[in-house]
Amino acid sequence: QPSAESEGPSASAEETAAEKEAESSAAAETGEKRTIGTVVLDGTNPHCTLFEEGFRSIVEDKYGDEAIVLDAVGDPETLINCISDLMSQQVDGIVLEACDDEAPIAILKEVKAMGIPVAAADMYLQTTEDEGLVLSQTISQNYEAGVAVAEDLIERAGGEEMNVCIMEMKQNSSGMMRIDGFVDTIAGHDNIKILEQSQPSEDSVEAKLELAEIWVQKYDNIDAIFAYHDVAALAAVQALKAANMLDGVLVYGVDGSPDAMTSIKNGEMTGTSKQQPDQMAISSAEDVYTVLNGGTIDHEWEVYIPTIFVDASNVDEYL
């Protein structure tokens, strides 16, 4: 398995890397605390809270080290600024939940030159294993998440005509993968028709609610709504409720945030593909520790954490 240490292209990078390694193993021996940093994609996304919990469970609880959690607030510029600040802080390792798949590449080269191991989680970065920028890429099966929702919809339709509205967010690449999975899966089923596939005028709950309300007003034959994440799905639930149309309309999301679970439990939302951000964080953090402790990673460079389809039948397990 390639790791950051073994792939240093320049002599100086190798040197620092070596120093770093010596330092960190020395630290481990003397029992001195190490510092592991992470940048989460957006702290106000419940998904990230779970990610942070998973990360802390490894760094703080398991290894007793110091965890630094920074927030990219969904902005690529803030993301690289946060990574810069982690470099200044001279952290021993980084778990990166990037909000963009390309933006951090350039700065990761600087991180690599400093010899700090990085593991990518949740967002598949546009880099190859050979470049050696990250130890591993641990991601959700976003496409499969969309597929799972589509399959449930097809099953519930049972061959009847069904009209779906799809709420997307082109700026969100993970979200678009879910949409792709969904759209590809229903493509073969003529009974399921897409009424409209569009996105809110901005990335805010208010705009998502407004778009859903207008759908409800515009079409009197909506049978299902699929949104690229739960926040939008829940907004759609509210729009349907306000128009007294929630009964008989299926609403799906992706993510499995706690309030989506509650909503499913209450019989409002139909289902969601639950991601496991905590698992992603745990797996990535473990990879960083494996390298820090001088070991090699013994699994594939790409790690897929499955999503779990949740609906009324199994929601109680996740409440």
Binding site: G43, S201, L209, E213, Q217, L234, K241, N266
Partner: protein, 335 residues
């Protein structure tokens, strides 16, 4: 320059006032009519009662913020923190209800009280610390947003226990969404406040000429202070309604709400340099923005193109407003 004697002036005065009102709001009314007519032609769904109600409900939070913002802008101030008030008050309400089982009504009162307190903080920072409103409210915008994220942990707070709460914002009174009723009540109340009380006169006086207001013995600090308290209270209330409509305390709500509210004021003819503008103008401005957004979504215009169209329509409607005023900027600077 014609002489008006008191005797025959009744009718004349009415005419002066009516023409004045039309001159002030004429631009936005014209822009509104044009956009409205185009919208009716473009989509058959547009003119339905339900759709009109949806428009009004959609703009309800913006309108509440914009009404109060009008007071602030009239004093030649600005309040960037309205969105954070929405978030803080909205989340606090749901936290109180869901986590501490506080009755909805009390929770709302407390949250509005917190809005009032932070509004007062804005007012004090601006009047007593002599800080420019832009930067003072930019700071409190960050602070309140930070508090809102901290208390919620950044996660939405679900409200399941209390269906009463949901009705507060999402309910209906007959056919009319309750949020629309609030807007109407708030409008009437604030209109009276602005046009029929001394405080309202003082708002205009302070914004028109701060020195003159001081020399006339007006407590200018108090007037400005109260304007920020108003935005605090009304945007807090707006946030609570929104949260109730979403049925969960979303800490991210209200981002960019300040721009929407200010845009409604300016499109409605209120001048950012203070002293001139009307609440009616702001109302029409807010509805106009809502209509634009609604028709673009109804027609299914691509979200990205929507941004472009929205920008163009803003320029268009404010331009109509500007050219209808005979005195141009260059001239008004002279006088």
């Amino acid at each position: 320059m014609n002489q008006i004697t008191t005797g025959k002036s009744e009718f004349n005065n009415f005419k002066v006032r009516f023409m004045g009102a039309l001159k002030t709001n004429g631009g936005v009314i014209l822009a509104f009519i044009i956009v409205f007519v185009i919208a009716s032609i473009v989509s058959s769904k547009f003119l339905t009662f339900n759709n009109q109600m949806i428009i009004l409900r959609t703009i309800s939070t913006t309108a509440l913020c914009a009404f109060a913002m009008t007071f602030v802008v009239l004093t030649s101030g600005i309040d960037l923190s309205v969105g954070s008030f929405m978030s803080l008050a909205g989340c606090l309400t749901t936290i109180l209800i869901s986590w501490y089982a506080v009755p909805s009504f009390l929770a709302i009162l407390v949250s509005i009280g917190v809005g009032l307190a932070f509004g007062a903080a804005n007012g004090l920072i601006i009047t007593k610390m002599n800080m420019p409103p832009f930067i003072a409210t930019l700071a409190t915008m960050n602070i309140m947003r930070g508090i809102s994220y901290t208390i919620t942990g950044g996660k939405p707070v679900s409200v399941t226990a209390d269906s009463l709460f949901e009705n507060i914002g999402a309910g209906f009174l007959g056919q009319v969404p309750i949020a629309v009723i609030y807007v109407v009540i708030a409008f009437v109340f604030l209109w009276m406040l602005l046009n029929r009380t001394r405080f309202g006169r003082h708002i205009y006086a302070v914004g028109g000429n701060l020195t003159a207001a001081k020399y006339s013995g007006i407590n200018t600090d108090k007037t400005i202070f109260l304007a920020y308290v108003l935005t605090g209270v009304f945007s807090a209330f707006g946030g609570i309604i929104l949260v109730s409509r979403l049925n969960s305390g979303q800490p991210t709500i209200g981002e960019g709400a300040e721009l929407d509210a200010i845009a409604a004021c300016i499109v409605g003819g209120t001048s950012l340099s203070g002293g001139s503008g009307t609440l009616t103008g702001t109302l029409i401005g807010a509805v106009l923005m809502g209509v634009i957004s609604n028709i673009l979504n109804l027609v299914g215009v691509n979200a990205f193109v929507q941004l472009i169209v929205k920008g163009l329509i803003i320029i268009f409607s404010v331009y109509i407003n500007t050219i209808r005023k005979p005195v141009k900027r260059a001239k008004s600077a002279e006088s």
